[in-house]
Amino acid sequence: MKLFAALLAGAALLLTACGASSEATTYSGPAKEITVTIANRTVTPPPGRVEVAKGQQVKITVTSDVADEAHVHGYDKSAALAPGAPATIDFVADQDGLFEVETHESGLQLLQLAVQD
């Protein structure tokens, strides 16, 4: 049981070392520009993760072949999509986490924003 306790303590130490956090910084680089096209319910580029720095400006331009609404979850930003006309959602990614960008009518996921320091 002693060994068991020692292992437990070792595990805790190891994990603590790995969890060292970095301080939040204000980002002052260029904006992240993302372009997505939806045609015939197919999303191009296919849904994936886009890394964004916390505090970075994000511009997501969506062109859909049908009328729809694009929406960034968590940030609650949306843009109405008219068929064939590009629409842009522009915001500052000021909270960390993983956020989905999707369309509401067709229910398609366009991408996931991974916002971190």
Binding site: G10, A11, V43, P46, P47, G48, H73, D76, E100, Q112
Partner: protein, 437 residues
Amino acid sequence: MIWTAGTGFPSTGMLLAHGVGGRQDLPIPFAAALAGAVVALLVSFAALGYLWREPRLAGVAAYLRRPAWPLQLAGLIAAGYFCVGLLFGPDTPENPTAGVFYVLFWVGMVPLSLVFGPVWRHLNPLRTLHQAACALLRRDPARGWRPLPAGVGYWPAAAGLFAFVWLELVAPERATLPVISLWLALYAVAMLTGAAVYGSGWFDRGDTFEAYSTVVGSMAPIVRQDGRFAFRNPLDGMAGLPHAPGLPALIIVLLGSTMYDSVSNAPVWVRVVQESGLPAPLLGTLGLIVVIALVAAIFLVATTWAARLGQVSPRTVAIELAHSLVPIAVGYLVAHYFTLFLFEGQRTLARLSDPLDTGANWLGTADWTLQSLGATPAAIAMLQVTVIVLGHILGTALAHDRALTLFPHRTAVAGQVPLLTLMVIYTVLGLFLLFAA
């Protein structure tokens, strides 16, 4: 869990509850996942040779008491309050009902049971209603029309759990009031019918949420015995979980469904679903079944292998070792749902003051603003890896101890190799999902 936005809502309230308005956890850093996996492996090897050589865990079951009436009353009042929003509230994201059901009730049952043990039997409004109906009819609630067959065990609870996780993770429009109402109505009818036929003992193992609370609550460090509160080693608690058919199935559905929730969030899975052109609920159902089946297959292969080495029947090994999956499942549940509970729980509490969305502040929580409570991505990742590894350590200890009683002495060490392999696979799989999905 991702709650899809429903259609037909006013555009300002388009978004249904969706994590913290849609926030999900970032993948854990690769180094953290690797460190967790290495610790899990080291613990397993150390366990094989150096842990105790004689069975030690006494198996202290939580004494299942008659439900306490103040808690029963509290359960009825809470259920009644929940029904105000469910039946009379607007079907919009401002309605707290979905948050209460999926976050405060379902996820919140984990911390509640971890601290207080199997509490849902006291709070369960269906059990209380059955008891009240029996009192009116001057019948003994424990006696039904016929005795509950012993072979039934936890199977009804496991089936009910599958129905619940399907609702939570797959069902279309699952955050809307009609869908939640329909599911709850069917569930209540099924449970009250079971209780009418088999007596109140039905709830012990037939009611999904009581069984869930019992399984998680077996880890509670505090038990009430002979009218007094006493401390108990959580390992003894889990070792004391009563064996019953269906217990492995119940725990495997719990673990498998939570893993499916991770898988379904991975971009790879999203791509497959969207490019297949098939309806999302169909693929979601298939995915849920496949992940649960995979978790079950790994368990059955390992326990059958161990049974062969130890010359015991595979069925016995599977049922006897089910309890060792409890800490692994609970660890994964905590890792997966911690931030959802933290953030969406706060939002739900704030909305709970105004279930009819009339601007009311019945509970005084309406003005609460979201507190991060120190949950930075690094802290969250650390917590996730820690609880998964802790689950692995506890599971390994439980399997080790049970193997000593289950297998003949000379095969006890060899018989553990499959079980440790099983634990390592589950843990590494869990860490991999937190890293990749």
